[in-house]
């Protein structure tokens, strides 16, 4: 079977997973007494219907792309990073503190500084479970989940006390948020009349850089080799522990960058939470996994995948206005997409095996005849 046909079959199955999830969503809408056609057309219109809608979709897609890129890196090394949520928060916090401390720097210096701070914050929050896994054998799924809780509570503490907007104390409202951060750190708007800001470019550059890293650098090759087989990689002299640490650190750095971009690209230009686990991130740490999986764990394919899921999240609000079905339907559908995509992997493998069998049938007769003749020669020749 040709490689392009295999890829086509895989793409078809991925699309089928979304269609299946949408079909289940349509059944849910129907059983709640509304029209799925009206709902989905409002959703598509709200996500891709015009300049403003497209810009909103791109902005919603951006954290998904950054997290998804991080997920691509860690999953390629067979390290499961469920800690995107905490790493986003860590990046947001470190970049916020940086903006507060260096508020007077000119934009040309402050913007790179806060973005770098996000990378560092998320990187550290990824390096902790990375080191724990690499050198102490701590399961990364657990440590990242726990560090999510720790990060959210540290944020809640900082935003309710040391970093709270002084105006909130004066007014007595005590909403957990910082003051309006330095305007010099605002990510510049790219298209007038929309909210489209520099963060979108940052995310795409990060995805391309991750692709170059994974497939065009020696370290990236080693990282993928660890993912393909730890023991074989170790036998080949690849430092498996260091690669594991690197995978989670780089993955966390991408998520931390998403956190910084979320703060400085927000409309309020401050870090604000509602105290709940998903209050600041909007579940981007989990939805980014959805985008990465749908993008076949390839950073470049994750770009269109995150635009699709960003569009779904934006369009969900339009759907809610049009047919009064809560936007949370889309989160449930995202979950189904994950389940279907992951379940289809084995279907894809079976399909590939069957197609390989077909290819073998065409080749095998010649090979077998050759094999038996040589065998006959040796057996008859020996005694």
């Amino acid at each position: 079977m040709s490689r392009s046909r295999a890829r086509l079959a895989e793409a078809a199955i991925a699309v089928a997973a979304v269609v299946a999830a949408a079909a289940v969503g349509a059944i849910m809408i129907l059983s709640l007494g509304a029209s799925p056609i009206d709902g989905f057309s409002a959703l598509v219109d709200g996500a891709f219907g015009g300049r403003k809608e497209l810009a909103d979709t791109a902005i919603k897609a951006m954290p998904l792309l950054l997290v998804g890129t991080g997920i691509c890196i860690s999953f390629r090394a067979r390290v499961i990073n469920i800690g995107g949520e905490g790493q986003i928060v860590a990046g947001a916090l470190v970049s916020t503190v940086t903006a507060l401390a260096l508020a007077d720097l000119p934009p040309a210096m402050l913007i790179p500084a806060v973005l770098l701070a996000g990378v560092v914050g998320g990187g550290i929050w990824g390096a902790i479970p990375g080191a724990l896994k690499a050198y102490l054998g701590v399961n990364e799924i657990l440590s990242t989940i726990m560090l999510n809780i720790v990060a959210v509570q540290v944020m809640n503490y900082l935003l309710r006390d040391p970093l709270i907007d002084p105006a909130e104390i004066e007014r007595g409202t005590r909403i957990p948020q910082t003051e309006r951060l330095s305007p010099n750190a605002d990510l510049p708007i790219l298209v007038d009349g929309t909210r489209l800001h520099l963060g979108v470019v940052v995310a795409i550059v990060a995805a391309v850089a991750a692709w170059v890293f994974l497939w065009r650098s020696t370290t990236g090759y080693r990282l993928r080799a660890v993912g393909a087989g730890r023991d074989a990689a170790r036998y080949a002299g690849i430092p498996v522990e260091r690669m594991t640490l690197l995978a989670l650190t780089a993955s966390g750095a991408m998520c931390g960058l998403a956190g910084a971009v979320l703060v400085f690209g927000s409309e309020s230009h401050r870090l604000v939470t509602d105290g709940s686990s998903t209050g600041f991130t909007g579940s981007a740490g989990f939805n980014g996994i959805v985008a990465a999986l749908f993008g076949a764990l390839h950073p470049l394919l994750t770009i269109p995948a995150s635009i699709l899921f960003g569009g779904l999240l934006v369009g969900a609000n339009a759907m809610q206005r049009a047919i009064q079905i809560p936007a949370s339907l889309v989160i449930a559908m995202n979950g189904l997409v994950v389940v279907f995509v992951v379940a289809s992997v084995s279907v894809r493998q079976r399909l590939r095996l069957r197609l390989d069998d077909l290819a073998m049938l065409r080749l095998r007769p010649a090979g077998r005849r050759h094999g038996t003749t040589t065998l006959e020669v040796t057996t008859t020749g020996k005694p």
Binding site: M28, L32, I80, I82, L132, L136, G137, V138, N139, I141, L142, S143, I145, M146, L147, N148, I149, V150, V152, Q153, V154, N156, Y157, R160, D161, S276, S277, T278, S283, F286, N287, I289, V290, L293, I325, P326, S328, L329, V330, I331, A332, M333, N334, G335, L336, V337, V338, V339, V342, A343, S344, V345, S346, V347
Partner: protein, 311 residues
């Protein structure tokens, strides 16, 4: 601080800690059973949310608490069947498909809540069941023997599950399937059948735990569990895959939460520092995992590995 160390406050705090640990315990016991058979379910939080909403909704409509708990468990069974199909027939990567189940539960419970209820209407919470005689022991009675029925059920499940895992033929099958599925298969143990049972039991307990949480609180809101199910998964590792270890971990988390709540009420902790108290068990778990990780050989060898005969 002195007002905390009075007998009545301490007793009330411990009692509240035992109550708060129940949802953790139910979900973590189920997850222990599943993991002993080699199946990781990261979707516990989503299943708990579904069990919590549907249990709450059932009580709201029918005003029957037992029905609410049963509905929660039934929703868990339904999700268990889904997860069994996904992991056993389609061999899906367990760490990731669980995230899908989580997102589905998070979204669907909120969808149904907003659509069918809308505002956090209160329901009659679970009433206390006093154990005769024992409840009259000073202090101890209030701490341990004046709780809702589900608390006793959860605690009774600890020895029951330990007995099933360690002393029954089925438990032997579960352990065999979790350690060496190929060997178990060659001896005629149905790997898929065994895992299907543990997955469904695990999810039923997660759904029950969610319903217990909602009925204990007497209300529902979006993302009610706030990550509780993820902690339940971690507690299985924390408890080294043994029901008694899981009980200790659940009590630890419940008690710390109760102490933080109590200190907040007494004004010992301000609103902001209480956040730091809330994260203490999570931090403690990371440290504990780091300390025990190296000598932790209790992890089922085939955990997260899909079974396909002849591979």
């Amino acid at each position: 601080m002195n007002e905390f160390f009075t007998a009545s406050v301490l007793v009330a705090t411990v009692a509240s800690g035992v109550r708060l640990s129940t949802p953790y315990l139910l979900a973590a016991l189920g997850e222990t059973f599943g993991q002993r058979s080699g199946v990781l379910n990261l979707g516990v939080d989503g299943v708990m949310l579904l069990g919590a909403f549907f249990g709450y909704w059932a009580v709201l409509v029918h005003d029957n608490l037992v029905l609410g708990l049963l509905v929660g468990a039934a929703v868990g069974v339904a999700m268990g069947i889904v997860y069994a199909v996904v992991t056993l027939l389609f061999h899906a990567e367990q760490g990731i498909s669980g995230i899908g189940i989580y997102l589905f539960g998070l979204g669907f419970s909120e969808l149904m809540y907003r659509q069918q209820v809308g505002t956090p209407l209160p329901i009659r919470g679970l009433g206390e069941v006093e154990i005769p005689l024992l409840a009259d022991i000073p202090h101890v009675g209030e701490m341990l023997f004046r709780h809702s029925g589900i608390v006793y059920v959860a605690i009774a499940l600890v020895p029951l599950l330990a007995w099933v895992i360690n002393r029954t033929q089925f438990g032997l099958d579960v352990r065999a399937v979790g350690e060496t599925p190929d060997a178990a298969d060659s001896l005629g143990v149905g790997v898929r059948r065994t895992r299907a049972v543990t997955i469904i039991v695990a999810n039923a307990l997660a759904g029950l735990g969610g319903a217990a949480l909602a009925l204990e609180l007497g209300t529902f809101q979006q993302n009610l569990t706030n990550g509780l199910g993820f902690i339940a998964v971690a507690l299985v590792y924390f408890g080294a895959w043994r029901p008694t270890g899981v009980l200790l971990g659940s009590l630890l988390f419940g008690l710390v939460t109760a102490v933080v709540n109590q200190w907040k009420t007494l004004g010992i902790l301000s609103g902001s520092t209480a956040s730091l108290g809330t994260m203490a068990p999570a931090l403690l778990t990371v440290v504990a995992l780091a300390v025990i990780a190296r000598r932790n050989s209790a992890q089922p060898a085939a955990l997260t590995l899909p079974f396909q005969r002849g591979r």
